[in-house]
Symmetry: C2
Subunit: 455 residues, 2 copies
């Protein structure tokens, strides 16, 4: 609390300095702040205040701050647009390449070309290189600011290289060793470098078993390697082992957050990464799903409509519709969550498919049998009607088993077909399970029709 | 693929060396592997093979590997139990303190006391200190293996300290500066140390604005600070600013994974972190939820039962029960997900409460009105019955609005009362929304009872 207040006061002072033209005070105080706080401050400014910032600070001084402002910030484009194009281009080339690329990727092709044409040929080439990589691959999240050395030198000379490159590199805590063709042959951590003798040869102390990822690898797999090995950075290579770049742990945290939000959104049937404060906008984002499912729900309604005669003769059947569809929907959601989770955790997907679907169906049989027996007992006592209890119990058991089948089979199939399994959302499974549950329920009830109508 | 195969072959060779008693070959090959791979290998062994490992490798050599084996591995206790107690105690004291504590926390108090009594007094004291911290706080995930120095020395002498402590510290990439009472006064990164002049004073180059967390802070808040500032480690202090330990980014990745899994589990009504292959066990974990919700569902059934006369006279009403409950349930799930997500993202929770609930209700009115109009049009045309369409449409709109209210209000209230909002699970919200939807539907239908019964 105190820290937040202190920060607010500092921001107020900075804004005052800005408005009153206290150039030196502003620069001293601003540049001493952590880049995250610089970003918070910058985003708290009004349009005309930001224009002053661009004249008080060099593109290079602003670049670090832009590295930490979220690239999905909706105002990012406006910030770039209000800078002089040459200022923006210089700032982009001073940013870490991966962040500059993320930022450029939100712009139109024409704008990207404009900024690239204003940069150094070398910087522009590096950025162009990274712009090619497909979204959600190792290539799309890697940066080219790493430190690489050759093996045939001493620790002392390697430390000398490091000191020179430390300012520009995104991390200096792993140093990658390459051969003359630029192929990755080893790695050494700064920790090992520091505890080694100054005259030791890099080739003797480096680790030759380098864990690396391929440039086309899915970013989720890269994140899994980070989890397994607890690395701070991982080298990225092409298929001929040439070192292309590195992925750092801070980018992996973003990947993990993104994947978690996407799984969660899938289960809920709403994109929680695009939360809007405006009810009209929020409704606009949710309606497509709701209306689509409404039409699927209409199929269930017409199915019940088909059995309207049975219902009018035995209205007691209507009492249990929502209980059966609801319970089966709950079971199906559980299966869906387990299947999606297992897909996310397991690399060897061929075994997972049948094991998961069969496991879920068996789990459905067990939970269905117990839930069915429970409801049989309740209905038999409550309504004094064991036959009705049997119909409800049997329907419950079958409906739960089928819901578990759908909940596991559908995401597994989506995955096989190359879609994100999380797209098979919770609401979709429950709505589909409503349909199958009603079908099962009325079919079983029909077998006992004479009994119901006779009563 | 090739890498996996290569690893499998290496493991096979290692097992052969183990079985045939090739001590040196085994040690050379094993100690050259990455600790994560050592862990994979160790977990692939049979009981008697593991016993050989304990005689081939020292507790210290095994400690690094145990640092990366998941603490929630179910066999962890067995591994410890099969070692000689003094061997296990030495290994525990060689592990990073935070990991040793995690591991000990899975044991009984008696066992913990046994191992502690077999350790060095100093190691035991460090572990005891950490055992006290509450679960899910910064204290529970911090380690005490950090590097701290005093400000009044040169870069050269600081580097000397660092070289000596590098082996034992969990990270050496941030060095924390403390005063004589052990209060945190500054921080310097190894990167800054390396690029600085050897004769520069630490007090001149350190950053005095240290971002730190309190030992009692929630681990989720610590994770958020990591996200904001892109740190690799954060210092943990008590309320008088004394440095107690550090949290490293690899532990934060575990925290982020845990929190994501817990939110996801909440929405699904099943704990996805305890996935069992055995259908009976899996069923045992899911049934408590399903049966509890079955009883809540019974309330909905008895409510419908109350309107049985109306249903038997106007069986058309039964056709739309599942459509209304299903759609409202879908909308409620969306609201729940948005509310839980907003709670997770926002620190300043007082503003969030009303803004979120009111926002969700308004969103419910908008989505409800549009969905209601759609179903009105469909029913009016399909059944040629605008009055029935009006009843269904009105009920749909009210049910969606109430579902959004429940979906946002319940998690917000849970949070206010100090519970994890994710416990208000998706299935609970949909089952509750079934009840309110049916209530709304039949109440509106009752107002038009004369019309329906007249028909």
């Amino acid at each position: 609390m105190d820290e937040t207040k202190e920060l607010e006061e500092r921001f107020a002072q900075l804004r005052k300095d800005l408005d009153e033209g206290n150039l030196h005070e502003f620069r001293d105080e601003f540049l001493e702040m952590h880049i995250y706080e610089q970003g918070q401050f910058y985003q708290s400014l009004k349009d005309d205040q930001r224009l002053l910032v661009y004249s008080y600070l060099s593109p290079k001084e602003l670049a670090d701050m832009f590295d930490v402002i979220e690239e999905d910030n909706e105002y990012m484009k406006d910030y770039l647009a209000e800078m002089r194009p040459s200022y923006a281009a210089e700032m982009l080339s001073e940013m870490y390449t991966d962040n500059a690329v993320d930022l450029l990727n939100t712009l139109s092709k024409k704008q990207i070309a404009k900024y690239l044409s204003l940069m150094d040929a070398e910087d522009a080439a590096e950025i162009k290189e990274l712009l090619h990589y497909e979204d959600e691959t190792a290539g799309s999240i890697m940066t080219t600011e790493y430190v690489s050395i050759v093996a045939n030198q001493t620790v002392r000379s390697a430390m000398y290289v490091l000191k020179n490159e430390a300012k520009a590199a995104e991390t200096i805590y792993y140093i990658y060793v390459v051969d003359q063709e630029g192929r990755l042959v080893g790695v050494i951590s700064l920790r090992d470098l520091i505890v080694s003798d100054d005259d030791a040869m890099i080739s003797d102390i480096m680790s030759e078993r380098v864990i690396s990822v391929h440039v086309g690898d899915d970013q989720e797999d890269v994140a899994q390697t980070f989890r397994d090995y607890d690395f701070l950075a991982l080298p990225v290579t092409d298929y001929d082992d040439h070192l292309l770049g590195i992925v750092t742990v801070d980018d992996i945290i973003d990947v993990i957050d993104e994947e978690a939000a996407s799984d969660y959104s899938g289960l809920a049937g709403v994109n929680v990464e695009e939360i809007s404060e405006n009810p009209i906008k929020a409704a606009g984002k949710r309606l497509p799903w709701l209306i689509t499912l409404l039409f699927l729900g209409m199929a269930t309604a017409s199915l019940i409509s088909h059995y309207e005669v049975l219902v009018s003769e035995a209205s007691i059947l209507a009492v249990f519709i929502s209980l059966i569809t609801g319970t089966a929907g709950n079971a199906g959601t559980q299966s869906l969550a387990v299947a999606v989770r297992r897909l996310a955790m397991n690399d060897d997907k061929s075994n997972t498919f049948f094991a998961t679907v069969i496991g879920e169906v068996l789990t459905g049989v067990v939970t269905g049998a117990i839930t069915g027996l429970t409801i049989f007992a309740i209905v038999a006592v409550w309504k004094g009607n064991p036959i009705l209890g049997f119909v409800i119990g049997m329907a419950m058991m079958c409906a739960i088993t089928v819901a578990n089948l759908a909940g596991s089979l559908i995401p597994m199939l989506m995955d096989k077909l190359g879609f994100d399994p999380a797209v098979a959302s919770g609401p979709f499974i429950t709505t589909l399970s409503d349909l199958t549950s009603v079908l099962i329920y009325f079919n079983i009830a029909s077998m006992f029709m004479n009994y119901f109508i006779g009563n």
